[in-house]
Amino acid sequence: MAAATGEALLEVKGLGKRFGGFVALEGIDLTIAKGERLGLIGPNGSGKSTLVNCLCGTLHNETGSVTFEGKPLNGLIAHERTHLGLARSFQLPKPFHSMSLVDNLRIPLLYTVNARPHHHLTDAAMAARCAELLKDVGLADKARRRPRDLTQVEMRKLELARAVATEPTLLFADEAMAGLSHSEIEEILAVLLRLNQQGITIVLIEHIMSAVMSFSTRLVVLVAGHKIADGPPQESIRNPEVEKAYLGE
């Protein structure tokens, strides 16, 4: 397992986001250390996905600042953040339906890895990297298939493989296990742990508490757009505010 170094990778200060009159996020402060496995939980509508969307550039936060490896991210659009090393998987898998699995992975290699200075993968190197990525997530035998031929868990794995193909430093796995069976959850967890061992910092946004608790080294809890707990998982879930949010008064 990659040990968290304590060195800050991502720093969020006073982040806020509104949709009209609705306050989705307010005053979010968060620091993610290199190599960390952070669990992000909260009831539906608490702002987890909005936070990920703001950090990845899909949405723009109205207040607050975000720095990644010391560089300010405010004003950068999604693909520019991907080029810097932030990657994400989507809550609902969004494969490129018209392409084979290999081409699904070639997109991030062509547009992110090859766009970085001093990086140029040749066609052969790209094919080898695609094969390696598919093997890592157990989809090597389906390389030439289309996403429509995949099962739900395979689709989730493809989603992760595509995010990893950008060679990220920080990966947001947004509900990567939703709707999966126990054994399938174990498969995805194994993939995520392996990625963390390879040095990728992972933020796991999830409702499945057993998965979050076994995966995370730190747990952040959001409720109604506010951070109410941040600390070791066992400590965070015993926080009275968290118990109140999940179990009621």
Partner: protein
Amino acid sequence: MRLPAFWLCAIAVGAAFIVLTRVLVANEYFYFAGYVVLQYIVLSEAWNILGGYTGYTNFGTGAFFAMGAYSSVVLHKLPAALHGAFGWTVLPVPLPLMILVGGIVSGIVGLGTGYLSLRLRGIFFAIATLALAIVVQTLITNWDFVGGSRGIYIIRPALAPISGTYIQYLFSLMTVLAVGTVGIARSIEGSRLGLGFASIRDDELAAEASGVPTLRLKLIATTLSGALMGMAGAPLPYYVTYLDPTSSFNLAYAVNAVAMPVIGGMTSWVGPVIGAILLGTIQQVATVTISSALNLLIVGLLLIFFVIIAPNGLIGLVQSWRRLKET
């Protein structure tokens, strides 16, 4: 087939087509009808770069096409206008240069349209392009220099720059344009740019998250698509010899440019070519044998048929049949 080999083959086929038609066909009407079919190959292939590869439906084909045509009118009138105003003697602008200028003008408008409207998606983008066609038509209708609503007569040069009649010359130019457009579409399809376009069509959010600069790519698509449409329109004044806003902005251009790739298949360069040849030829035959008024009806019926029976066009139909055979 590798790209350089494809280009060589396309150029060889185009050259052979021009030479063989000159040798074998004497009937002028063949060239009149063939010009229209070739023009639709360019238009549908150009439309497909934005609509098929990138997934953005453009109903403004008529605007880009007519801008190409009217930029030729301006260049046609320019020598006389400059002579009248300043006494300058300017040589007539050759048609290939007019085609180039038409492409540049429509390409710039495509870039501008893209910049203003590409934040819109789906039906909203389609409506914006339709609005563009109306705006451009209104401007042309009120611009006296190019004939305004009265239209303008264009007298073709007495002699074609190469051997044969002027209509044969136009036919040859349109063949070159069609070969070039098909070559460009084929080059895009297998390239990094083509994969980027396809990722936008499949899922724009996922494309951005994968590092694809979606806005930049969409601007490339609108510019290229607009430029090729403008190039297709540039020789029109010399083909029809009388140009007015009603005919140059005809709905048929927009409808055909959408229908031909849909019928042929939108995910490959082959689809628009098949669609244009099929639909273009049927329309030409219907014009001669029944009435040109039936053309849009034929397109409509075929569109309904294909949307229901083969939504991925003829190419999609063949691909599904092959997959079935394999399994």
